[in-house]
């Protein structure tokens, strides 16, 4: 697919560089294949697990737990070394780290429930105390035999650029287990995140479900930490999930999108670090994820800031235009006896009259009139305005809708009407025809008597 373009560029720039790119994109190179596949799989698993922790409002749990693994590493190393074994044997280290990670997770839950400490305080305590213990242990190990513990440092910073085949295999199996667990317990985890009290009332143990989620975090963290380092694992557990929130409100989609963003970030970051010299892979992957987050933040289809800003601005404009049209129409109504007859567009309204009908400032009103004139809704004649033919039709419809809404809110005052955009949503699409008919009757009745806007009290004088 990209073959031709490569060929085209190759004539212009350094051929060697493009060959490298080509080899990378096709994953021809063994080393970059391991790195990119490994991190991408990890990103996928972390994205899925991270979605649940994010929705459980425990985004930073990965931060706390992965720091809590350090003392386990140190103790495992010390025990193995002192008992004559190989301190750097991976299974022993991983067992130690897993155990201390699980203890950390239990400590978080325990601090919460026993002492009513807030979530963030529990995270902070576990993170700092466990990590402190780990630092102290590393200090001991270093004084024990200088240089011997060098391998342990890798757990904190990772060795992303030099992932081995064994690392890849362990990532594959851990990711598979994590994904499988998430799939199997999807609805239980969803329930936990959505409504813990309800989950408990349904007989699910909070401890069991929270324990499951924490164990998944431990699983991802332990695999990721030895492969790519602590900070990258934390980032992968948080950033993709947070980014996915801007694209959807549905949990199932959230999980999939988050996994996708995690994979894409790792893929892109891995590529970039392989291509560009002197860039640490882990850091570049985090930045790639952060860029995807930024993109989602701006352009995410459900919550993206740009769309939100545009929508808000549009909404504001529509609201102001409707205010103007309604104000003109309602003034016009008082001037002529039967507004339905033709020639209504000739009714001229003083801008000064409009001025007192709402709390708008003079410049704002001027601007609104100018805008409406440009859109062909009104014509301005000196200090007066008149609705055009299309403006009249629109204003009439708006005012009618508005009165129906008002009548609805008044006659159904026991129900709050939420999630309805009364500027954009036509009343016919929201309410039952029978109710609308009833409202029409009421509005008509009032019109004959006195009122256009039934909410207003007599103006004091």
């Amino acid at each position: 697919m990209i073959g031709p373009s490569v060929a085209w560029v190759a004539t212009e720039t350094s051929e060697a560089w493009l060959v490298a790119l080509w080899r990378l994109l096709t994953l021809a190179d063994y080393n970059s294949r391991v790195v990119i596949l490994g991190t991408a799989l990890l990103g996928c698993a972390a994205g899925v697990v991270g979605s649940f922790t994010l929705l459980r409002k425990r985004a930073l749990v990965g931060d706390a737990i992965s720091h809590a693994m350090l003392p386990g590493l140190g103790i495992a190393f010390l025990v193995a070394t002192l008992s004559g074994g190989d301190g750097r044997s991976l299974p022993i280290l991983l067992t130690g780290a897993t155990i201390s990670g699980l203890i950390g997770a239990a400590a978080i839950l325990g601090l919460r429930s026993t002492w009513r400490l807030s979530e963030d305080a529990a995270f902070g305590i576990v993170l700092s105390v466990f990590f402190g213990a780990g630092v102290a242990l590393l200090g001991v190990i270093q004084s024990l035999e200088a240089g011997h513990a060098a391998g342990l440092e890798g757990f904190i910073y990772g060795k992303t650029a030099s992932l081995s085949w064994t690392d890849l295999m362990s990532i594959v199996s851990a990711a598979a287990v994590a994904l499988l667990m998430c799939a199997m317990y999807f609805k239980e985890l969803a329930l936990l995140c959505f409504d813990q009290a309800y989950a408990e009332s349904q007989g699910y143990s909070k401890w069991w479900l929270d324990g499951l989620l924490m164990s998944l975090v431990v699983g991802v963290a332990i695999t990721g930490m030895q492969a790519v380092g602590l900070i990258l694992v934390i980032a992968l557990l948080i950033i993709p999930a947070a980014a996915a929130r801007f694209w959807t409100h549905r949990l199932s989609r959230q999980v999939v999108i988050s996994a996708g963003i995690g994979m894409a970030g790792c893929f892109g970051g891995g590529m970039a670090s392989a291509l560009l010299p002197n860039l640490p892979a882990g850091a570049v992957i985090i930045l790639a994820c952060a860029i995807l987050f930024l993109f989602s933040l701006m352009f995410g289809s459900s919550q993206g800031m740009v769309w939100r800003a545009i929508r808000r601005w549009q909404w504001q404009q529509i609201m102001l235009r409707q205010h103007l049209l309604r104000a003109v129409y309602e003034r016009a109504e008082t001037k002529i006896s039967a507004p339905e007859i033709a020639g209504e567009s000739e009714v001229r309204i003083d801008i000064a009259d409009l001025m007192i009908s709402r709390s708008w400032s003079k410049p704002l009103l001027e601007r609104l009139v100018d805008n409406a004139q440009r859109e062909g809704l009104v014509t301005r004649i000196g200090s007066q305005v008149a609705l055009s033919r299309s403006g009249w039709i629109q204003a009439k419809r708006l005012t009618h809708q508005h009165r129906l809404w008002e009548m609805y809110l008044i006659t159904h005052a026991d129900v709050a009407l939420q999630q309805v955009d009364r500027l954009a949503d036509d009343i016919e699409h929201v309410l039952e025809p029978s109710i609308i008919h009833e409202l029409e009757q009421l509005v008509q009745g009032r019109t004959v008597e006195v009122a256009k806007s039934p909410h207003q009290l007599p103006e004091p004088n």
Partner: protein, 463 residues
């Protein structure tokens, strides 16, 4: 002792630096914990990295104020980004911290790698710190050689102390009820950023000497411990400062001592300080005055013991009552007869009590011996009976009980068979003023719903 290697000129300064750092962190940490932003210390300590890199890029040197200013600036930017993500994009606070600090850290790593070829800007140092090296880098101030770290940390503590003292009211109000603060014109945003700037300054000042682990630990753990000890903000500030200082001292001591137990050399002070703080938290969590487990357990036990003693006294009182009403010339009806008249003596044995009150025999005996010691019950023949003091207390209990029964039937429309257990539970916590209101709320009858006499209030006994 394991403190053989202790040298005052070195360890003394280390201790001073550690205490200064711990106290200044914990002062601000109280507000972080109360505001639900405990992890900010962690976020900031990672996020200053790009600031350090930029400063190095510009100045080309590793030390100096440039580095400091840039790091603080990076920290403030971090806080701003976190707040913006939270407020305008609605990202959960924890998640926004996580996103911002990992991204900043990554950015910092990349920048450092670009310049690190010719400089030793070691990220290790930021994480673990090297408080052991503080005495080596000294300034001469007024003829004294004082370690640089001690000077900067001293200034930091002074700043934090001043800030907390001068803006105590505002910090309290914006932390407790930010809406009210804003409506009163005390901008919670201004206070928030002020606090965060100081958190940043403190974190940066602490990194080089003690490392970020300790910053996070001291910002969260001592305040959380203080929360177990007291229920006033002022008390919390004092406790957290004291506990933080204690953790610092213990940490440095144990860094030297503990490894020697296993025949190893000393370890890193900063790590052990965090561990000590954790140990102190556990102790506070056990014996703390407010939420401590032991305290709670002791309180429960004490209450249970009071209930058991009350039950015994009430039983003996009712026994006497029954004896009195059976006697042909009742002493109680006239009210003039001295209460220690022989006819009212009506001892009960421990076995009798335990079977009637549902207590185990040893428990009843324990309760009785306690009551005897307090002079509320005295042995009489094979059993025990009330003394005057005991009778007064018992009378009030029975009065509370019967008033409650009357109240429940009259005012709360309870069925008569359900009132006893309620009254039984509440009589132990009913004081004089409550009895008075009960008496006022119920009809002025002398009999409870079961037909028993409601004993009168006991006059204060003034010997």
């Amino acid at each position: 002792m394991g403190l053989d290697g202790w040298i005052w000129a070195l360890d003394g300064w280390i201790l001073v630096a550690a205490v200064l750092c711990a106290v200044s962190c914990s002062l601000l940490g109280n507000f972080l914990v109360l505001r639900g932003t405990s992890m900010l210390g962690d976020a900031i300590s990672h996020a200053v990295l790009p600031g350090l890199a930029v400063a190095f890029w510009i100045s080309g040197s590793r030390s100096g104020t440039g580095m400091f200013v840039a790091a603080v600036a990076a920290a403030v930017v971090t806080v701003f980004l976190i707040e913006t993500l939270r407020r305008t994009a609605g990202v959960d606070r924890g998640a926004s911290m996580g996103v911002v600090f990992t991204a900043m850290f990554a950015l910092g790593i990349i920048m450092i790698v670009q310049v690190a070829d010719h400089v030793d800007l070691d990220p290790n140092c930021v994480l673990y710190g090297s408080i052991e090296l503080t005495p080596l880098d000294q300034w001469e101030i007024a003829g004294w050689l004082i370690p640089k770290a001690v000077v900067t940390l001293g200034i930091t503590l002074l700043l934090n102390g001043l800030f907390v003292a001068l803006f105590y009211k505002e910090l309290l109000l914006t932390t407790f009820d930010s809406d009210l603060a804003d409506s009163m014109g005390i901008s919670s945003q201004v206070i928030h950023y002020g606090l965060m700037t100081l958190v940043a300054i403190t974190a940066v000042a602490s990194f080089e000497s003690v490392g970020s682990v300790l910053v996070v630990a001291m910002m969260v753990v001592p305040p959380a411990s203080a929360l177990m000890m007291t229920d006033r903000l002022s008390g919390m500030l004092a406790w957290s400062a004291g506990l933080a200082a204690m953790a610092a001292v213990m940490g440095h001591g144990s860094a030297i001592v503990v490894p020697s137990w296993f025949g190893m050399g000393s370890t890193l002070t900063s790590g052990m300080m965090a561990v000590s703080a954790g140990g102190i938290l556990m102790v506070c969590g056990l014996v703390g005055g407010r939420r401590g487990l032991v305290t709670r357990w002791v309180r429960q036990r004490a209450f249970a013991a009071q209930v058991a003693a009350d039950d015994v006294l009430g039983f003996l009182f009712r026994l006497e009552e029954r004896a009195k009403s059976n006697a042909p010339t009742s002493a109680a009806t006239t009210g003039h007869e001295p209460s220690e008249s022989l006819t009212t003596k009506n001892p009960a044995t421990a076995v009798q009590l335990s079977t009637n009150l549902g207590q185990s025999l040893p428990q009843s005996m324990r309760v009785l011996s306690g009551l005897v010691r307090r002079g509320e019950v005295e042995p009489s023949g094979a059993g025990y009976c009330l003394t005057d003091a005991g009778r007064r207390r018992a009378q009030l209990l029975v009065r509370s009980h019967r008033l409650w029964e009357l109240y429940l039937v009259e005012q709360a429309q309870y069925e008569i068979d359900r009132i006893h257990e309620k009254a039984e539970a509440w009589e132990h916590v009913t004081d004089e003023s409550m009895r008075e209101s009960l008496d006022r709320a119920t009809s002025q009858t002398a009999l409870d719903p079961h037909g028993s006499q409601i004993p009168p209030e006991v006059e204060r006994h003034n010997p």
